[in-house]
Assembly symmetry: C3
Homo-oligomer: 657 residues x 3
């Protein structure tokens, strides 16, 4: 399986006189594929029905002439002003009832009928023109679905389609009333036509109503993408269908969208992510110019799990970005490190965003491989080095098989929505807690697969389930049948599919494999922790704890809270963590379970990460100081050596194995 | 005067097959009364005019058959969707001009004519059907007026009614212009019809205008409640009229509303209150699972002062709740402690919310006496114990007379609005400062009555007046005539009834009994304090200070600020605190005044609170550690003993007295 | 050039019986001029077309009878209710699309045609009546343009006028598309009529679009003011035209507005400013009751630079104000100190706001020279002392020439807008950084002129340029020609006039005098600093740094960041600070440059400030402790002496010079 580099390019931003030189320099740098077109609608169709293909034809030819493959994008993320002005339902409506305006991007409503038709039209026109072009080997639908909080709209169109969606889901209004429990507060409906979007209410809207609205909105994204893919496949036979997803973005369920594609790709901006996400200020300072050592890899492992073919990084941060509250510059070496990290985790392509920093518009402070003065930037030089190293690795090791971990982490998009809607504690943030389990496993040197709840579980020695409120009926049996050690996070099984409390209390269906009852829960404000004793290890719980009754035979409390309630319970291979624990305690317990699972966890030095792919080990040093790699006696190094400089990369075949 | 337990029950939430067992178990637990119906409109009238009484008839019979008394509620807090859809003026309008939506509760405008009529209709229908039912011994109007910021609406209806209200108050537009002082910034009106709600202005709206809008909105609540009470009294002779008010909720003036009722009841959630109110993070941590030792009792003493008959706790927190940002679980024993605390302060009934935790809807994480799996919860077991102890106490002491303190604290709802509208210092929070005076008195072991400014003041040895900006004309003379020591908080008498500065400067009318002038004021940002010297006691002022000139004979400065300005001034029995002082200084001065008043203040150990009722002393331990009760030599204990465990309760008759 | 005191007076707020006594007491206090009328529209024209001049005629006569000069104001800041109700376009529209409401002040849209006409009408009527009145010697247009965020409106009128403004600026839509770079994200326009206000977009709107909207809004203010001035000049020959600007208020460009006036005046509230502006809590505490020692003077030096005649302080804080979040009272002596500070920096008049504290309306807690009970307040007594001292100074020194610094600080309003729109780091706050350079210079005892980028630069020994993103084409040559030492802040020259990155990278045109390239930038979150080594001086950069390549001959790195990048670069007399440095480092480098410029910087004791005017030195002590004045041997003291008490003022002629 070949690995390669790509780049994102906007010929429409530059004088045509520069195109040829750009293409030549791309080729010389080692670039193999070029993504174009995703924001070019106003140039392709400057006025209604007035198509201008010439410039785009020429741009493709210039690239093709250098042997570069083209990833063509549909331009639907940025409909032009004239289109928006012609239809009154294109713009989405926010939670305050205000129409969003034209003037940036993603200014469309997934539920707009007129925009659905306009999208069909432009996608068909593009597909007809370039679908069979030999240089166009892949198609990207739209761009970053959902970016800037655009999944959910409260427009009349969305509300109308929501009612239909509910009708299809519940069949009768009586069934809906029963499933939601609308008798509470006299919220009963007499018909689907009475149901509005759950917004603008005096106090919180009904949680089951809210959860269904999020499910509906997620389905709308999948419907819209499927429309594009179907048109493209009809006109572009044999080409790869891709979309560029975002990092740790959970506003719609990515699995059904990815199922319609060939390749899941994602856009990797480790520094922007660190600044904008949940990390504490001291963590942001610690990894300021490298990103968190487990953040990019979390996404690699996630998208690997939803892609039929090797996933791609469609946009790789090449230097400072413009969109975070603060935008540090990456340490020298990080662009190379991030690139190799992606390949280590299974990427088929790493494509840099963008070829050259553009001097105008919203993103003018976003770095490219080249500076606005057209000199090669630091990131460009590092990309060039990666291209050379790819050759070395492929010569030494051939094509690399996909990585496969012995540990699976079950990930669920709707868990995020549910805990957001119905949090019971204001800082219960699903992505954070899922990430913390992942990070603990990675710091133990383990390779991890991130998989959906419906994935096959065979072959895993250990399965970690971050808080999973709605447990599919068949999951307990499948967990049992896997033979793996299973670690369940708090609040697992705490809700039915309709967002009700299970009749036998949480963990609901999981009681089949772990006979306990969570009879009470407690959320904890930020200045509160509760001590936890796990043998000699003293830790702390924060955010949340479940108070658990042990009911069946063989269940035991492995650790206890300060007030005596069980903190970890276990029966045979099934473990339940009854709270959110600190990093050290989480790691200690996962290490213990990993050993029980027959794995060989090892506590890596801070900043070191290891990943295996195709018989090779990839070692990455996120730390400030040089590191000695463990267990490298007799290793055969292809890149680097047993001493790893800061921001260094080593690739080697270990002696034993 | 008998004391008893009750519970809130929602037969419409449960299969009818469970009702009888529920009623039997209630009786067995010691429950005497059951509140029902306050959110059941959609079941009583599922479609316009289609009344379904059968289920409710049967539910009442099932309860009556066990000898349980029924508190029937009007269901007006949750009009059904069809009703909202039939009238375009039911939903209130927020400060941004947006109509609030259906989908939670309290989605109605107190000024809506159509909702007023719909309310009359449903209340009349209910009253006609159950008004004379022997088991229905009390009626609750609506539910928690004002919850979720629903007192004030900016709808066209509200604005229209506001104009009429102004016309009635001022008679002529000239009188209004003069009273408000609209010549300032050319805000003069030519007619009442020109006056809008004071909202959406470029900078702050006129404070007199804003204050009148709050008074108007408060009056609208009273008008609405009075409408319900009048209908109910006409059809339900001899039944008690009640409403369940909220904790420390000052958005409308409760005194006129309570004056139309027989029993003021309130809903007590000590843990939710601690989390959501003004307390500092370290205070929230200190009392995390007990609530603040003076919070529930503040409300008990407040509602006791507005109730013709003994007040009730209509909803008592039975375990964790769902609605605070974080929701800890109460320590074992607290449900019992809170129950006895209510009785100690004069409650006639403590009614738990709710019988059983409901597994669906917004409040599914709100505990009940029973768990969703129908097992008795911890709170249920504690309620059962309280029921048994009630019998012991009543056997030993007979019916308990109402408590009566020697200390009065004057409380005023409109003071909160005024300081919010016209704060002059962003953290001048009336409820907090009133509470801090109360808490200091309680920590000195004193029983306190909280009374309105128009209450008779005879019989009090000490009267404490938290910042009272508008002083009724007759109050100074009444304070003087009471013979009590009077302690006035800062900003007292600082405004006329029209929100102007008194011509002779503050404290305005209070100059009759204390001849001083507040010639300047100073608000202080959170990181600023000013030292205060009171004899040997060194303290700090924060938030606010008044700079005071002494004018008349016999006035003296008892304490001074660091820069020499008087901090406490006094003439004879009248004391003025010219700032907000820290806890220790406040307590030290109140102790000194209490001694001057002939009382016997004592500094209680942290967490211990005492209250006397009917010749008994009730001792409550909010602390983590056991306590030895003071002055219990020779005491006769009915419950507990002289050593009080954490969260313990003791009830005894002291030897002396 | 004579200096004098004035006061702001509102005869319409007080019984006519008080007017004469007020005028007599003003005269006795030493007041020479009285400002009236700026909020009196509802009294001048209580109903449409019904003019009532009598009261105003009499008020002017009463003042004139005491020899007081009158500054008459146009009342356009507060149109009456009837006027607002007659036109549907007077009220501005906010960023959420909501019309702002009547009920406070400044409730008008600069782009409203009907309000423009109504303003013309009332200004003409006033000018016709009082234009030639001998006592009316000056006219103030409106009041505090832009206060309460009223510069920018998103109304249909504003959007329509914006399109015309763009048409005039760009000529063709193609030119606009090219200048902005609308090809980015398909934002291209086909005509000016397609362009909306840059608001309500899904993510940030195009920065060039936003910057032009700010420029347009700024021009609208100038257009509106010019309309008033033209009418007034036509009817009031020889009178001074003035407007009262605000402190550190950058929402419109003041230079073109001031160019239409004779005197720039400003409203000085040092305590309110300290509380509301960017200062850290500990700085707010340090200068709580004095204001920051450089804040009022910054504004003095700023407005001196835009005024044809000596600027005035039109409103001087006389005691506590009402509008900050917290409102401390000034230390005794500060009203006097602030008054003398104004004169020291070149003021022609210091006018106190207001004569007497008004007991009603929004500002009832704003102090005046007199208290609401009509006793003289502390500020009044200090004003009286200043009036006497003015006589002493003028007797000793005659009329005082304007101050002239040897150091110029280049100030630019649009820099603030640009960095706000396109910040790249969330806390890059232009006014703060400009102020910090100014403050460092002042703490070195240097007199500073604040001047616009187009000002003549001859005669300055040192020119300091805070971050100036758009550098006029001729500025580099003018800086060079001045012969001064030039210190450039980071981000200077970073954008073209259309908000694009210069083709040769920043500092763009400044490369003519300093051949470097800023090839990368980095913004730093609040918990991040980067060490800087300047010889022996170790400092820190925060917020921002530029990474600089040295390109031409003679450029050298004078200081370096911890990672080796240059922190300060220099060629000959041109210095570039490649980051935001801490106070000590900034001061150290500016001191070094000042010495190179031949100046004599001296590090003043904390709180001491010196300013020279008309051959005199004015010394002001902002500190808590007495100070010994440096270099006063042989000095001739007119006010005070060489020992300066806290909050003290000394005025003297130095021996040497």
């Amino acid at each position: 399986m070949s690995i390669r580099l790509g780049v994102c390019y906007y010929p429409e931003h530059w004088p045509e006189a520069m195109w040829e030189s750009d293409a030549q320099r791309m080729k010389a740098l080692g670039i193999k594929q070029v993504r174009i077109g995703e924001f070019a609608w106003s140039r392709i169709e400057p006025a209604p029905g007035e198509l201008q293909w010439d410039w785009l034809d020429r741009a493709i030819e210039v690239l093709a002439a250098q042997g570069l493959e083209v990833v063509m994008c549909t331009p639907t993320a940025t409909p032009p002003k004239w289109l928006v002005d012609r239809h009154d339902d294109v713009l989405a409506v926010d939670a305050n009832g205000r129409k969003r305006h034209f003037g940036s991007r993603r200014h469309y409503d997934f539920s707009s009928d007129s925009y659905f038709e306009e999208s069909q039209r432009i996608v068909r026109l593009l597909a007809q023109r370039y679908g069979k072009h030999p240089a166009v080997t892949a198609w990207q639908t739209d761009n970053e679905y959902g970016c800037h909080q655009t999944v959910v709209s409260y427009s009349p169109s969305a509300q109308r389609r929501f009612r239909s969606w509910l009708r299809a889901r519940y069949g009768s209004i009586e069934a809906l009333n029963a499933a939601w429990g609308t008798v509470f507060w006299s919220m009963e409906y007499r018909s689907f036509d009475e149901i509005d979007a759950p917004v603008g209410t005096v106090t919180e809207a009904h949680p089951s109503h809210r959860l269904d609205y999020r499910r509906f909105a997620s389905d709308e994204v999948a419907r819209y993408n499927r429309m594009q893919v179907e048109i493209l496949r009809a006109h572009a036979p044999g080409r790869l269908m891709v979309h560029n997803f975002m990092q740790m973005f959970l506003e719609f369920d990515h699995y059904p969208v990815a199922a319609d594609l060939d390749v899941a790709t994602w856009d990797s901006y480790p520094l922007g992510a660190l600044e904008e996400m949940w990390f504490a200020p001291e963590v942001k300072a610690r990894w300021l110019r490298t990103g968190h050592p487990d953040f990019a890899s979390f996404n690699h492992d996630l998208y690997r799990g939803m892609s039929a073919q090797p996933f791609w990084v469609m946009e790789q941060q090449p230097g400072p970005v413009n969109w975070a509250h603060w935008n540090p510059h990456p340490l020298p070496g990080m662009v190379r490190l991030w690139s190799w990290e992606a390949f280590a985790h299974g990427a088929g392509c790493v494509s840099y965003f963008r070829w050259r920093q553009v001097p105008f518009g919203q993103e003018q402070m976003h770095a490219g491989l080249n500076r606005p003065d057209n000199r090669l930037d630091v990131g460009g030089a590092e990309a060039e080095r990666v291209a050379l190293e790819i050759d070395q690795v492929e010569q030494a090791a051939g094509e690399l098989a996909q990585p496969r971990g012995k540990v699976a982490l079950l990930f669920d998009y709707s868990a995020k929505w549910l805990f957001e809607i119905h949090h019971q504690g204001a800082d219960f943030h699903y992505p954070r807690f899922a990430f913390e389990y992942y990070s603990a496993l990675r710091a133990l040197g383990l390779d991890v697969d991130i998989v959906p709840v419906h994935a096959p579980l065979d072959g895993y020695a250990m399965i970690v389930v971050p808080p999973l409120p709605i447990v599919p009926d068949d999951l307990p049996a499948r967990l049992q049948a896997s033979g793996a050690q299973v670690v369940l996070g708090p609040r697992s099984g705490s809700k039915t599919v309709s967002l009700q409390i299970p009749g036998s209390l949480p963990p609901g269906p999981l009681q089949q494999i772990l006979p306990v009852r969570v009879w009470r829960v407690e959320s904890m404000r930020p200045n509160i922790t509760e001590p936890v004793a796990l043998g000699d290890c003293q830790g702390q719980a924060s955010h949340w704890r479940d108070l658990v009754e042990l009911e069946g035979e063989g269940v035991q409390a492995v650790a206890s809270f300060g007030d005596g309630h069980p903190a970890i319970v276990r029966r045979e291979r099934v473990h339940y963590l009854a709270g959110i624990f600190d990093e050290a305690l989480t790691q200690a317990y996962l290490e213990q379970v990993a050993r029980a699972a027959g794995l060989a966890p090892q506590r890596l030095p801070q900043g070191l990460r290891l990943q295996r792919r195709g018989g090779l080990t990839f070692a990455l040093n996120y730390a400030d100081a040089p590191l000695a790699l463990p267990d490298t006696d007799g290793a055969a190094f292809i890149v680097g050596g047993p001493q790893l400089e800061p921001q260094g990369v080593a690739i080697y075949r270990t002696a034993q194995k």
